[in-house]
């Protein structure tokens, strides 16, 4: 009982901690001016922010961002799980090397990773193209998903695959009857996680896409930096809503399969 009440308090505190900043952004996005010492804004009007956002450009950027998130999520999941499977099977030393490599794509400071990607993508003649940005995003996305998949395989019995194979199953049957059903949920989570990693990329998109490939973060960067906080907060909400939707999807999925995450 006491534990439950304490948990209730904890949940309330968590809710307040998470929701307050989001609420502040929402208020700012609809407030024309909100100056000290006003606790709530006196004039609200979302139109200036909407018009500053230039609806046409934002829509095309939104489509580009969604396409990139989907594509990199999909490819990143397949490649990340492939890498993790090989790493887990091949043995300890190689597993460590693979993990370290994946780690570096995740933690490398933007200047090192960004310049590396820029040189690589420009070198193969894909600078300023959608394909180039896709390939560039794929690197950190795959890094994240490899780490994720290694964790998944830690509790997944890979020998099932070998057994099925010795029993005469074709590679396609192994994939469709064993791997996908067993990993299905995790693959879905990977897709969303990978999509989120791509969704937030800014520096890499600018360096590789050269500003020509315009994603939502690129399009809205100027608004956040223009000193116009209303436009900035509005832009921030635009960027946050699709991932919030994805997170909702993830929890609904969890409810349906009965697994709690």
């Amino acid at each position: 009982m006491i534990g439950a009440r304490r948990d209730g308090f904890l949940l309330a505190a968590l809710g307040a901690w998470v929701l307050t900043p989001i609420a502040v952004l929402i208020v700012r996005a609809f407030a024309q001016s909100w100056r000290f010492p006003q606790i709530l804004p006196d004039a609200t009007d979302a139109w200036p922010a909407l018009s500053a956002a230039g609806t046409g450009r934002v829509t095309s950027a939104l489509i580009a961002s969604l396409a990139l998130a989907l594509a990199t999520g999909l490819f990143g999941t397949v490649i990340g799980f492939l890498i993790a499977r090989s790493a887990v099977r091949v043995g300890r030393r190689f597993q460590q090397l693979t993990l370290a490599a994946a780690f570096f794509t995740v933690i490398a400071p933007p200047i090192a990773l960004g310049v590396g990607l820029q040189v690589a993508v420009l070198g193969i003649g894909l600078g300023g193209t959608f394909t180039g940005v896709f390939l560039a995003h794929l690197v950190p996305v795959t890094g994240y998903l490899t780490l994720f998949a290694v964790g998944v395989f830690a509790s997944f019995d890979l020998s099932l695959e070998d057994e099925a194979r010795t029993l005469g199953a074709s590679p396609w049957q192994v994939l469709s009857r064993i791997v996908v059903p067993l990993l299905g949920r995790r693959l879905g989570e990977g897709l969303i996680l990978g999509g989120l990693v791509s969704w937030g990329q800014l520096a890499i998109t600018l360096l590789v896409g050269g500003g020509v490939v315009r994603t939502l973060p690129v399009e809205l960067l100027s608004m956040v930096q223009s000193g116009n906080d209303q436009a900035g907060a509005f832009a921030a909400l635009m960027l946050s809503l699709p991932p919030m939707f994805a997170i909702g999807l993830l929890t609904v999925g969890a409810r349906r399969t009965g697994a709690s995450l």
Binding site: Q32, S33, R35, F36, A43, P48, A52, G54, R57, F75, I79, V115, Q118, V119, L122, G123, I124, G125, L126, G127, G128, T129, T131, L135, L206, L207, G210, G211, V212, R214, V218, L221, S222, M223, Q225, S226, G227, N228, D229, Q230, A231
Partner: protein
């Protein structure tokens, strides 16, 4: 993965056949430039931080370029000091193939850097049909931080540094450097400057004022004169530092942060490199309605900004047509409107054919805007870019680091 790589290499863009370099085009006829440009796209790399400028470029310039010249204009992020990195890396990694950018928005230091790294194409600018309309007698337009543009960049507009204050909150705003220092000492914690370009322009203006005017620094960089100016400036700063916002121990990261502090009444002054920013910011309700621009008696720095064509530009012809259109009286007039951008023209208005001179005269003046005569009398030109570079480095080393 291999398939993916193969796919990537297969669709590697061989690029459209690049148009001839701007230098070659400029030597030929303008009609040829026009016909080469028709049906192409110009990627224009610029600062995208002001919704008013973006609206002018995307909503006014772009549709006219498409209708009148069949050129689509695509304005993208990429400003000042970052441009040099972008273009240099493109050149290193792309082995002579055309890059992405056909036009860049630049001035002063960036122009110097792009020239020294041989990243600009030219000369082409003097061959534009509208080049004859430029106010070439103006020392601000014809010299970019004392450098001769030499046809490697075409002027686009002109701005002047101004302090911004709230005339309702601060009716006794100081108007000279010494009065400003006295005001700061009487009002502790109410003044500061940012750490980037705008803040350094303010410090440079003060340095001119304290060390005998801009004349003392003209004619190239001189170590001796720089040191003298710096000593005066830093001792002035030391005398006011304890009275700055947060006791001068920290500074706002950029001018946007300073605008936010000003709007919330944390400080009484903000500043801008464009004397008309106050007008647009009032209209966006970022600043209170009584915000005004202010020029110190000792003068404030005015400079022109330009457009250039990178050496690896894929579409020099389209870029030249765009640069020429930007210099047309209609584009310059629209740009100067207070409710559009408020960026001053670089044209010699008096010698334009009728009805242009009267139209420029009639551009509606906003209550918050400064009169043109005052602006002109207090305008001081930029000096060699090295002064800015050294001042920034020394300010960071001594004033920012050496705080008690």
């Amino acid at each position: 993965m291999l398939g993916l790589l193969a796919f990537a290499i297969a669709c590697r863009s061989s690029g459209p056949p690049a148009s001839p370099p701007a230098g070659t085009l400029a030597a030929g006829s303008w009609d040829r430039v026009l016909s080469q440009a028709r049906g192409t796209t110009v990627v224009w790399r610029m600062w995208r931080g002001d919704p008013a400028i973006n609206a002018y470029v995307d909503g006014w310039v772009a549709p006219r370029m498409r209708d009148q010249y069949g050129v689509s204009v695509e304005a993208v992020e990429g400003q000042g000091p970052e441009l040099v990195n972008i273009l240099a890396t493109e050149r290193e990694a792309m082995a002579g193939r055309p890059g992405t950018t056909s036009l860049v928005w630049i001035n002063g230091e960036t122009f110097a850097q792009l020239r020294s790294e041989n990243l600009l194409d030219g000369p082409w600018a003097d061959g534009l049909p509208n080049a004859s309309l430029i106010d070439s007698d103006s020392s601000i337009v014809s010299r970019d931080f004392e450098q001769d543009p030499a046809g490697y960049e075409a002027p686009w507009g002109m701005v002047q540094f101004a302090l911004i204050y709230d005339s309702a909150r601060t009716p006794d705003a100081p108007t000279s450097i010494s009065a400003l220092a006295a005001w700061i000492q009487r009002h502790p914690g109410r003044f500061t400057h940012d750490q980037q370009f705008t803040g350094m322009t303010f410090l440079k203006s003060v340095m001119y004022g304290l060390a005998g005017g801009v004349q003392a620094f003209q004619g190239g960089f001189d170590e001796q004169r720089y040191r003298q100016g710096r000593e005066r400036l830093f001792s002035w700063l030391t005398s006011i530092r304890p009275f700055l916002w947060r006791n001068g121990r920290t500074y706002p990261p950029d001018v946007a942060a300073m605008h936010r502090l000003f709007a919330n009444g944390e400080i009484d002054f903000t500043m801008s490199n464009n004397q008309n920013e106050v007008v647009t910011k009032i209209r966006q309700k970022v600043f209170p309605p009584d915000a005004r621009a202010l020029l110190l008696e000792e003068g404030t720095i005015a400079n022109a900004h330009y457009v250039g064509i990178p050496i690896n530009a894929p579409n020099a012809a389209g870029a030249m047509v765009l640069a020429n259109f930007l210099l047309s009286p209609e584009a310059q007039l629209e740009k100067q409107r207070g409710d559009v951008w408020g960026d001053s023209t670089v044209l010699d208005v008096a010698s334009l054919p009728t009805p242009w001179p009267s139209r420029f005269e009639a551009v509606a003046r906003d209550a918050a805007a400064l009169p043109r005569e005052l602006l002109a009398s207090r305008a001081r030109p930029e000096v060699h870019p090295l002064y800015h570079a050294r001042l920034l480095q020394d300010w960071r080393q001594t004033m920012r680091r050496g705080t008690p």
